[in-house]
Symmetry: C2
Subunit: 197 residues, 2 copies
DNA sequence: GTGTACATACCAACCAGTATGTATGTCCTC
DNA sequence: GAGGACATACATACTGGTTGGTATGTACAC
């Protein structure tokens, strides 16, 4: 049974890579099978369709990535604005040239799949909502602690911060330029500073 | 020869629709042919490959759309911040539910194609650059006229405005919600106001 | 008679998905 | 504890459909 779990996990990780590289629709099951050494029978034993495999990649791989890289670090103590800038800058430092070119895995799937598959759309929406709420929460906490302007609406600001973040990554992805990402992030930092009390 | 031009134009417009709906890779040439009533021989007479057809859609259809909906309106006289907010609000009013769901045609192609096809990437980059420069120009003019803060860097601010705009549309696309687009745009307007002198 | 603007028929490659077979483990019965 | 019954976890081979692309033919204009 441990072997079956390992097979399933290998499929999920290879599927994530293949989808990240080519998008979901252009992702080839045969390529995933070649990369893992798993056979088609095994794949369809674990996932009843390509669609279900894609759903599982969001629910298990991408969801974990979001947790690890955003939701958890954002909860550290400190001034909300400083914490957010710190988390964004850390992510920016760790990013590779390849990752810049390939963009945000969640946003890639959102732009490709949300108009054509409600199952994808809902799953992505769920993750975006968690992401947004994590920002909203620390803004609200900051308002109570007197470190964030009380005049702003935390939910609306969180939405805009999330959108700008994805926008910056999208622009930098097309420009294939870490420098452009950092220039763009400076604009976001300027906005974040304007929320400071 | 007028007939040939009409055939070519019909192909470009149908290709634009098909690509807008499904993305470039999933766009079907056969569907484009069905919609236009043109035959495959005619298509390959005008475009030597699917790739070249895609390039032409960017260079001719999407480029014109950008001109008509952004570059031209943004040049109207007035306070730069007011002009930009006006143009964005007008676009927001004219948008349909279907357009919300399908997002920005240029950003869709950027996210899908930039990592896997340099020809697409360069063409999209060219349009993004024009877009950004149009914003940069009115900010710079505003600085000279004393209506925009002299402390900001117009090029960096323009980059962030463009990124936020695309980010807002991307988030609203996945949420399939005009309301979310407007809430997100409010955040952008807040940032724009902070540039005012 | 030569180039333009198509039309028709076809092709190999690839796609997701399936039908069938099998090795292995587990559980229950006697 | 031997043995049949059943489920799990695959492996192999195949299918029908679709894809972008091409080879060949033709009508017409200059």
């Amino acid at each position: 049974m441990a072997d079956a779990d390992k097979t399933r996990q290998a499929l999920l990780e290879a599927a994530y890579e293949e989808i990240y590289r080519n998008g979901f629709q252009a992702a080839s099951l045969n390529t995933i099978l070649e990369r893992t050494g798993v056979t088609k029978g095994a794949l369809y034993h674990h996932f009843s369709s390509k669609q279900k495999l894609g759903y599982a990649v969001i629910d298990e791989i991408i969801s974990q990535k979001l947790d690890r890289e955003w939701l958890t670090p954002i909860q550290q103590p400190g001034h909300p604005i400083d914490v957010m800038i710190g988390v964004i800058q850390l992510a920016g430092q760790q990013i590779t040239g390849q990752q810049i070119d390939q963009g945000c895995p969640l946003n890639n799937l959102a732009q490709e799949m949300s108009p054509i598959d409600p199952g994808f759309r809902q799953r992505i929406d769920h993750l975006y909502r968690k992401w947004q709420e994590s920002i909203e929460k620390i803004l609200r906490d900051g308002q109570q602690a007197g470190t964030v302007k009380p005049s702003i609406n935390p939910a609306d600001a969180a939405l805009f911060i999330l959108a700008s973040l994805e926008g910056c990554m999208g622009i930098a992805k097309n420009a294939q330029s870490i420098d452009e990402l950092k220039r763009c992030a400076q604009g976001l930092f300027g906005y974040l500073e304007s929320l400071r009390c």
